[in-house]
């Protein structure tokens, strides 16, 4: 808001216009929210995004298909493989390419480990938001990140990098799972499952956390559907929709797992949904390692000139369930070696729209609780 607009708001309405600017410890990245406060109560909230817009959709029109998968890993930087996974699946749908079973299972394995890692970050930063960097929140944050470090070490031994693993290729996976890494994966799953109760006790088990999140930021079903929220935010409002069940991809049609649903729609419900999702993902990871099929991991011939890969003309929309929700890629191809138009349907963008509806009526302290429970990643919002 310009300075004169702020003065008008403050003079005419008696409200305080507070700028939770792009630089703020709790806005989960560069998000700007202009809060109109009456005392401590939020009267109006106007979010402003675009501080991390990097023009990835335009860039996609200039790069070859095989070059593009790593580029998208920088969108939702807390679950990088989810982005490239969705892209690779959409490209495979366009080109009618089928990845071999083992490759698909390895892609799902990395996706689930990144889901657990992303939810650990979410929990730690939720602690920071609710508890403060100089208080109990930091303790939760440190414990969560300690567990996450083990996951990143596992990713490093599997793919060579801790984070932007680059494992998804059009036609399969890039890295194979050997016996030692498979054993490490199972052992780590057991370790994290053992550590989860203490993390849950440190957060949801404390009365203060429950009081801060119960009844805060309730998203009623109609609002959830009309806005189009997705992921744990949607499932916390009682709507049973998970892309892994609705449009199964890779290994998910062969793996049994449950979809946690909560009906309350408040921040506590979303917290419980994500905690249950961690447990479910640990189960999936274990089953993938146990039942990993043998065979090749990549189905196309070795790429002599990756830039020359052409996909047939047409359109495809394929989504994956990233830790934030439905991450969809809509690729329009004109038969050439580069996408004609590539659109990313970002879950954090859809979830963030609910902010102007949720914040008014709450206190300033609820703003951080609500933002934390929505778990936006600005790289995903702005692309």
């Amino acid at each position: 808001m310009s300075a004169s607009a702020v003065r008008v708001v403050e003079r005419e309405f008696g409200e305080l216009a507070l700028n939770m600017g792009p630089q703020h410890p709790s806005t989960h990245g560069v998000l700007r929210i202009v809060l109109h406060l009456s005392g401590e109560t939020v009267v109006r909230a106007v979010p402003s995004i675009g501080y991390l817009h990097r023009g990835v959709e335009k860039l996609a029109e200039h790069l070859a298909y095989d070059q593009l998968a790593p580029v998208f890993e920088r969108d939702d930087y807390l679950a990088p493989t989810a982005n490239s996974h969705a892209f690779v699946l959409a490209a495979e749908a366009l080109g009618k390419i089928e990845a071999p079973r083992r490759g698909r299972w390895i892609r799902a394995l990395v996706a689930e480990w990144q889901r657990i890692a992303s939810h650990l970050v979410w929990l730690g930063t939720l602690g920071l938001d609710l508890g403060g960097a100089l208080g109990g929140g930091t303790t939760l944050y440190m414990y969560c990140f300690r567990e996450r470090e083990k996951i990143l070490d596992l990713m490093e031994s599997l793919t060579g990098t801790r984070f932007h693993t680059n494992v998804n290729m059009i036609g399969g996976a890039r890295y194979d799972l050997d016996a030692e890494t498979a054993a490490r994966s199972s052992a780590l799953a057991a370790e994290i499952e053992a550590a989860l109760p203490s993390l849950a006790a440190l957060s949801g088990g404390t009365p203060i956390f429950r009081e801060r999140t119960r009844g805060v930021g309730v998203i009623p079903k109609d609002l959830a559907m009309g806005i189009g929220v997705t992921g744990p935010t949607l499932r916390g409002s009682g709507i049973r929709f998970d892309v892994r069940r609705a449009a199964p991809y890779d290994a998910y049609d062969e793996l049994p797992f449950e979809i946690p649903i909560r009906a309350a729609g408040d921040a506590e419900a979303r917290f419980q949904v994500r905690m249950d999702e961690i447990v479910q993902s640990l189960g999936i990871v274990r089953r993938i390692v146990e039942g990993l099929p043998a065979g090749p991991i990549f189905s196309r011939k070795p790429l002599k000139n990756p830039k020359a890969t052409k996909l047939p003309a047409g359109e495809a929309y394929v989504a994956v369930e990233s830790p934030r929700g439905e991450l969809g890629f809509h690729i329009v191809s004109d038969g050439g070696a580069k996408p004609y138009r590539l659109k990313i349907s970002a879950p954090s963008f859809r979830n963030l729209q609910v902010v102007p509806h949720l914040l008014p009526g709450g206190l300033v302290a609820d703003v951080v609780a609500i933002l934390g429970s929505l778990d936006p990643v600005m790289g995903d919002v702005d692309r």
Binding site: M225, A247, S345, Q353
Partner: protein
């Protein structure tokens, strides 16, 4: 794809034709068709909105979903390039508001009746619409991808 009777109903009532991933509508019947999809046919959940420039015209596609029947429908509208204007769905699906702002930001398509037609991703004072085909990516030092 939706059930055949829904496709037939859309064709009869609003002039819809099959299109990739869904149906295509004349621009004039977009608002009425989306209201019918939401209220009568059960497509109550909004997913996303895409735009692209093809053959000198813009296409805007809204994706809506029927969660119970698990069907995602892309409803497409074509408009001419210059002075392009289509009806805004912001009061039919609340989630369309920011998606339409993104399209008007990156493509320059105007949305009639939009409650808040400002740029969303680019700075307010930005000139140009990057996702148009005539907008070239060029850095000051001459790099072209």
């Amino acid at each position: 794809m939706p059930a055949p009777e829904i496709v037939e109903a859309l064709r009869v009532r609003f002039g819809a034709e099959p299109a990739p991933l869904g149906v295509s509508l004349p621009a004039a019947s977009l608002l009425a068709a989306m209201r019918a999809l939401r209220d009568t046919y059960g497509y109550r959940s909004y997913v996303t909105a895409t735009a692209l420039e093809r053959d000198g015209r813009f296409e805007v596609a809204h994706a809506v979903r029927d969660v119970e029947m698990n069907d995602t429908l892309f409803v497409r509208v074509r408009v001419q390039r210059d002075g392009a204007e289509i009806d805004s769905l912001a009061f039919v699906y609340a989630g369309a508001e920011w998606h339409e702002r993104e399209i008007l930001d990156l493509f320059g398509i105007a949305f009639r009746g939009h409650p808040d037609p400002r740029r969303i991703l680019l700075p307010d004072e930005y000139v140009g619409h990057p996702l148009r085909k005539d907008f070239a990516i060029e850095t000051p030092w001459g790099y072209r991808p």
